[in-house]
């Protein structure tokens, strides 16, 4: 391999001294094979995660196909009737879709302002030393297993909500939203902080140099410039909230219903993820119920995939705007 100096394609030139500088593949078979096998191996390793994504898509869609073929999609998306084990089973996933939307949106209402303000605080207000202290702590929030958050929701938050506000149940949409918002915070803070930091000293100095205060600089220059990255941060946080299973299963109360009145977060809901996780163990493989859960999975995958593409778009346009690409 080390002897391969020139391009292998070129014909060996007849050297008057008889010493050719060019190796043909046959002359250096081991080197040739090692080179190509090595490349192949590395390619396989690096593409394994990509392959995994495709396999997940493939199997989830394959398992859902029998349901998608036999049942009315409109009913699946718009009916509130979810009685999969009844004599005449009904598969209306609307209450789960709405449940997912509820806890996601409600958690973002808590997490987005707190996350963005925390990102601004970390990047523009506190000293370098404090930032280096606080950032790892926030990142630990992301590393806590979700079941631990679930315990917190059930053992601390639920009784507190019940006693403090007199809710009929402590495990409800509000509880799940609060815990989800804490879980989405590290994602939102770190992505937003990154994009706020890339705004750079030049623009901040330009603003201060024109007589702007720190408040004006942050809200009129820094945040508008970083808005694409901040939107991406919010979408990534949203994906975290939609995809979360264990916490919503433990904290949301798991009632497949749409709260009435619609804004009442103190009622129990059930999300798509909790529905899949909770019911999968009870279904018979190959039954309609089983396939319908995979159809819910397809819906989730499509949602997450779409959000991912949107956030990627905003992250790329954030970089373009600052001339980093």
């Amino acid at each position: 391999m080390e002897n391969t100096i020139t391009n292998r394609e070129t014909e060996p030139v007849a050297d008057p001294s008889g010493l050719s500088l060019v190796l043909t593949p046959l002359e250096d078979l081991t080197g040739f094979l090692l080179h190509h096998l090595g490349r192949l191996l590395l390619l396989l390793i690096t593409s394994s995660s990509v392959i995994a994504v495709f396999l997940i898509f493939f199997f989830v869609i394959r398992e859902s196909m029998p349901f998608l073929k036999e049942h009315d999609m409109v009913e699946f998306l718009t009916s509130k009737q979810w009685y999969p084990e009844a004599d005449t089973p009904k598969f209306g996933a609307l209450s789960m879709i709405v449940g997912s939307a509820y806890v996601t949106v409600a958690s973002l209402i808590f997490a987005v302002p707190v996350g963005i303000l925390a990102a601004v605080f970390l990047s523009d207000i506190v000293s370098f030393r404090i930032r280096e202290l606080v950032k790892p702590v926030i990142e630990i929030l992301a590393a806590i297993p979700s079941v631990a958050y679930g315990f917190f929701a059930v053992l601390v938050l639920a009784p507190w909500l019940q006693n403090k506000f007199g809710f009929t149940t402590g495990t409800n949409a509000l509880n799940a939203s609060i815990v989800l918002s804490i879980m989405a915070l590290p994602t939102i803070i770190s992505v937003a902080e990154d994009s706020i930091s890339t705004v750079g000293r030049e623009l901040r100095e330009a603003s201060y140099g024109l007589g702007a205060t720190r408040f004006e600089t942050i809200f009129k220059v820094v945040l508008p410039t970083a808005h694409s990255g901040i939107i991406a941060a919010v979408i990534l946080g949203m994906m975290r909230a939609i995809g979360e299973t264990m916490v919503v299963w433990m904290a949301s109360g798991n009632a497949a219903q749409i709260p009435t009145p619609w804004w009442d977060l103190s009622q129990s809901v059930r999300t798509m993820t909790a529905s899949i996780a909770g019911e999968m163990g009870e279904t018979v493989k190959g039954s309609d119920h089983y396939y319908s859960l995979f159809a819910t999975g397809v819906l989730l995958l499509v949602l997450i995939f779409a959000l991912n593409i949107i956030s990627e778009y905003f992250l790329v346009s954030a970089k373009k705007k600052l001339g980093k690409i």
């Binding site: 000293s127 030049e202 100095e205 330009a206 140099g209 024109l210 007589g211 508008p224 705007k321 600052l322």
Partner: protein
Amino acid sequence: MPTSTIKDQTKYDHIDSIVSLSEKKNSPSKSETDCQCPVVKAENFSFYYGSKAGVKDISMEIYPCSVTAIIGPSGCGKSTFLRSINRINDLIPNTSSKGKLLVNSHNVYDKNTNLVNLRQQVGMVFQKPNPFPKSIFDNIAYGPKLQGIKSRSKLQQIVEESLKAAALWEEVKNDLKKSALALSGGQQQRLCIARALATKPNTLLMDEPCSALDPIATGKIEDLIGKLQADYTIVIVTHNMQQAARISERTAFFCLGELIEYDSTANIFRNPGKKQTEDYVTGRFG
């Protein structure tokens, strides 16, 4: 001291062409302004990054309606001094200062200095053109809006005046809504000058404003500086000694954080009083 040397300038028989050019350009503004009290005055001023001194014990006076150049090798403190004048160096943590730095006879390092007013009176143009990622109009209107000007027609008037003063109006008057980032580097830098002028400052600090530009754009900025000095006090830091010779009336030579020599540009380049200055301007050092 500078006044006497200016009169002596006519006595020189061999005149460097560059310097003579700058004299012709600079002389009218001098006769127009009889105000001789300094706009910026440093009295034993030192500035520290942590425990390291950026500039040490600087005493100099900068006169109104003229161009003062600060030259010197890299890391000699010329930018530090310039950025101390509007206290933009405050943004760097762990800095401190000693001595006095007076702008319009107020010590800017006083505790009760109004930084907003200071920075509106002392505008700044940076090394790299740094327009906001907003429209041309919004870039210029940013400063006036901060001052509380809301009327659209008033803002329009300020934008037009500022762009005209920065010799950019003819090139952009039909594209005021376009992003400032779509302009060329030289246009962006003139936009930044227009933006600084929009807050109606009396002093402009320029930190190597041409170092990121090509020669043609540099020429335009230099012409502009020549025009602006009639109305503004301009302090310019530059690496380019020909530039200092071309555009400035007085030149300060900094080295290792200290002010080595400060005199009329003609004297600094033709008849420097110190060996160090001579070595630097003749290219033997730095």
